[in-house]
């Protein structure tokens, strides 16, 4: 057991845990943020995607000790229902989720993509999103929603200027 400090969604959390515990279980069961999901445990499905310093990582294979004192963002830190991120807004407009279980991970991958590439092509979306499995088969809507989010981001940028 070890005392580890995590910075999750801008807040510092100190936990006492097995340093080898994957970040996924630390976030879900120790910190108590349930939005990040368990799908495979071997970085095959993307359901557990969170951001480490803004970049998407698979929390199910990331030992918690390796991310001590680094900035972690989970789905709860992206936006809330009263302050939606444009990606979440687009997800609602395109009615993407069915069961919804994989969607936290899908959104985390999409947010990371748009951060570095605000106007991705279909090929770039393929590249960024092929690590996220959706058994309900919402892929066409995910693609449309990413394009929609890209438009929303541009509109937001214009308004802010």
């Amino acid at each position: 057991m070890a005392v580890i400090s995590l910075i999750i969604n801008g807040k510092k959390r100190t936990i006492n845990t097995d340093p080898q515990m994957p970040l996924l279980w630390a976030v879900r069961d120790v910190v108590g943020l349930k939005g990040t999901k368990f799908g495979c445990g071997m970085a095959q499905c993307g359901a557990c995607t969170v951001h480490l310093n803004g970049k998407p990582i698979r929390s199910c294979i990331t030992p918690v000790s390796s991310v001590a004192n680094k900035k972690i963002t989970t789905i709860e830190g992206v936006g809330s229902e009263t302050r939606l991120h444009p990606v979440q807004q687009a997800w609602i407009e395109e009615q993407v989720p069915q069961c919804g279980y994989c969607q936290s991970g899908q959104i985390m991958s999409a947010v990371a993509l748009l951060k570095t590439n605000p106007d991705p092509t279909d090929a770039e979306i393929d590249q960024a999103m092929s690590g996220n499995i959706c058994r309900c088969g919402t892929y066409n809507r995910v693609r449309k929603a990413i394009h929609r989010a890209s438009d929303l981001l541009k509109e937001t940028a214009l308004t802010t200027k």
Binding site: V78, I92, G137, Y139
Partner: protein, 718 residues
Amino acid sequence: MNRRAFLKAGSLTVSSLVIGVNSAEAGTGLVNLSEQMAGKALVSLEVSPLVILENTGKIILMAHKPEIGQGTFQSMPLIVAEELEVSLDQVEIRQAMADKKFGNMGVGGSYSVRGEWANLRKAGAAAREMLTQAAAKTWNVPVDECYAKDGKIFHKPSGKSLPYGALTEIAKTIDVPKEPKLKDAKDFRLVGKPSKRPDIPAKVTGRAKFGIDAEVPGMLYASVERAPVMQATVKSFDDTATRKMPGVRHVLKAERKMYKNTFQGVAVLADSYWAALQGRRALKIDWDNGPHAAFNSTDITTRFKELAKTDGHVDTSKGNFDEAFAGAARKLEAEYELPFAAHAPMEPQNCLASVKGDTVEIWTSTQLPDDVQKETAKYLAIPPENVTVHVMFVGGGFGRRLFLDQVMEAVYLSKQVGRPVKVVWTREDDMAGGPFRPATYSLLRAGFDAANTPVAFQHKVVAPSINDTQFGSKDPAKRQDDGAMEGLKEAPYEIPNLTYNNIFADVPVPMGWWRAVYSATTCFAHESFVDEMAHAVGQDPLAFRLNLIGKNVRMKNLLRFLRDQSGWEKPLPAGWGKGVAFWQFFAGQAGHVVYVSKTDKGVKIEKIIAAVDCGTAVNPDNVRSQIEGGTVMGLTAALKSALTFDEGRARQTNFHDYQMLRLNETPPIEVHILPSSESPIGVGEPGLPPAAPALANAVFAATGKRIRKLPFDINDLG
């Protein structure tokens, strides 16, 4: 909120009108239960629990089916709201907990909307009529001068109005109409128009709570090392290393009851899931692998092929197939092989159970909340009302969560240790644990006369029985199941001499209902072979099908609609091919046209056009979603991994070797809904069966290669 909590919360300030229809009872008539409520603090009218009107103005519509992604959390309350004359933003949709007052709470067979359509409308209409009468009484005016709109009753001549909340008290004194007048479809405001699902905001912010997210104070996490071979038993185990690990609290033999079978394992219970998992990995177990340690897919295929030579049970017969086939001028015969499959929902199986004395509280992702209640009660020999079932959002069902073994496992462990226990399966547990979609093997024959008209047709289906592996008898004479013939019975092709044979195949592995059940495999064989027939006589495959359809006007219309929407008759670019397939079965009916283009060694799917006849489309956008999803699941089964067995166990264990179609591999899918004012029929499953045969038929059209075994490699057709 359960009934007790509702009464408690409402007893001081809230007067409620509870109305609805209990679909489980033999009669679906509306009953005034106000008598039963007499003597309680809350004076209210309860007809059944679906519609709750409070005098505060709050309108609560109960979602009495689990939301597994199919959209009933919205579509069912929407139907009530339509008749009640309220908009969806005026109501609060509340997930119901398991309770017999809700009747059948299960979701399966694409049944929810088609099964509850009439009852839901009646519930909304009855409430509307009672509120209208209450207003007329209040104003002392004729009832036909009053009408309902936007949550208010209006008096037409004077223009005055009262909100529903203000009428609740008086409405309680009015008899529930037995046959309330339903709205004319032309007056629908909500039904038939795309509307946004209220569960989606929670699902994009991480707030939606699935079974796996449930927790209670003092609970332990469990991970179970499962029998490597189906039906293996624990001889002994050594937990010395496990017990030394931090956080591990208990190690014990586990049991998991899945209908007639009970499977064994060794459970590690710990303070955290990670600790339970680490403890499990340190176990040393000596298994008795039992009689099925040699079970494997190669032998199964050989056996199925042999069985296909027999006639089994003749399920459907017209004319004289044998004679007509023997005398046919042209004959065609082919065999099709379809594999076992895993459901692989994204949320692995899990359950949190808390057994305290003779009561149990359960939180889980299930398709059958009322069965969870009944089966748990039976398992522990306690009354069903002692079992509280919290219905959580479900991270994918696909039929897997029509099985309650994950619940029984958690209940068993909680009872043994006297604490709440949350069992979470690993992906490997989920993938290899079954139950599995049955593999099927089809032998088809067709005979044509000298004018190339089909005169004889046979489809033999070799299939393991889901019912037999789950509920069946050990008596060989009773081991027959025509469930595998679903869909064939509805096949619209009229050929004068025809037989459908069902050949029972015994397997030592539990089989399960998988999205579209047997149609997921038999449609591939049937619709591919009909395509072979069309090509054998040099006819356009779609026109050939149209010519073969007799009395089934609905399917004929669907195929014509698909032809027109897909641009079937337009010329194709060089190197392209197109394929068609369609299917009608218990869940509903749909069809696909797939366009492919030739690549170096394979094909690329250019686009897919799907058409569905679902009767009235309650929420057309959600109908499209379901057909898109069914199509993707059909393509996944056609192109990705088979579930195979070796040495008595499933060989595939996770998404690396049991692969899913991914975003970069998914073609554009257009969904067209046949305009219809018929009652709704299913949409959850019908999008699946025709997708694979339409694709394989397109592959043949483009390349001349006929696919008779799934899955196949789209990039290398060999």
